[in-house]
Amino acid sequence: MKAFAVALLLMLATSVAFGIDSGDDFPDPVLQARYERLIHDLRCLVCQNESIADSNAGLAADLRREVREMLRAGKSDQEILAFMTDRYGDFVLFRPPFVARTWILWLAPALLLVAGAWIAARIVRQRQRLAREDADDSDLDAGSA
């Protein structure tokens, strides 16, 4: 029992923060926040549904190192993202730009919403008309009776 308690205590004593990112934090919290945002916005190309922040692929580590170095060198977010898209294309961005090739991607939710609203409106109107016609019919029935 005592051994169990000790084991339990030892387990609690260990750190649970096994981060993927092994680099040091930036001393400047603003820079650290920009770094965090950038690596979450960049796709890991090896394991495509992960950001380079979440991936432990070798390439993701290399790309985090590039982002880190560019931030240290005083590059802007745009410059860093441009560095990535020049090499890997828009695919590397989790938020692709609004261009001719991607407009359908961006507008599809709105278009589907409008289409859905139109269908819903039609159905509602049809039901109302049917209900009115029923009411009219029963009026007629009442009148003739």
């Binding site: 190309l45 290399d62 590039e66 898209t85 020049d86 090499r87 695919f91």
Partner: protein, 177 residues
């Protein structure tokens, strides 16, 4: 009538998208480098670290850049094809050893044969990033003007070489000023 046609139309659109989706390989990402100048590099040679390998050597000539690593199964798979292509002497094949262990890379070339005119050693993967490499093996074709004209992702075979590379090499050689 419309209430039957609408869902049917929606289904038809979905089927068309899914059908074309079947023939797309999501792991192959088109390179933005095609038609652009090849990123310059100068790295130590795998076999002789005191010697620099640079693509400036090939100015005015076509060349192939093959990215590989001894940790890469696909590279072992394509190696015999690379050797066969190298024997045809159509264009020089430059190697880029990506994030590898130098003794292992040297051993690999000794054991399996060396298809490369020279091979650069990219220890920290920076040149690979410049070329937009994300998974070995990758093979680039660079024309005499120093522009990347084709990129093949996944193991190369002689059939792919004949289908995708040779026609481009011939076309590029024909339009040379």
């Amino acid at each position: 009538m419309l209430r039957y046609l609408l869902p049917l139309g929606g289904l038809a659109v979905l089927v068309v998208f899914l059908f074309f989706g079947l023939h797309r390989e999501p792991s192959i990402i088109p390179s933005p480098l095609i038609g652009k100048p090849a990123p310059p590099f100068s790295l130590p040679s795998v076999t002789d670290p005191s010697r620099q390998v640079t693509n400036a050597t090939y100015r005015g000539r076509m060349y192939v850049l093959n990215v590989w690593g001894t940790w890469c199964v696909g590279c072992r798979e394509e190696h015999s094809a690379l050797l066969a292509i190298a024997r045809t002497n159509v264009v020089p094949i430059v190697g880029l050893s990506w994030k590898d262990d130098r003794p292992l890379a040297i051993e690999w070339l000794k054991q399996l044969g060396d298809p490369y005119v020279e091979c650069a050693f990219d220890a920290d993967g920076r040149v690979a990033i410049d070329w937009g490499v994300y998974g070995a093996p990758e093979t680039f074709l660079v024309d005499a003007q120093g522009r990347v004209i084709h990129k093949h992702i996944a193991p190369l075979t002689e059939a792919i070489w004949q289908r995708d590379f040779l026609p481009r090499i011939q076309a590029a050689a024909g339009t040379r000023p």
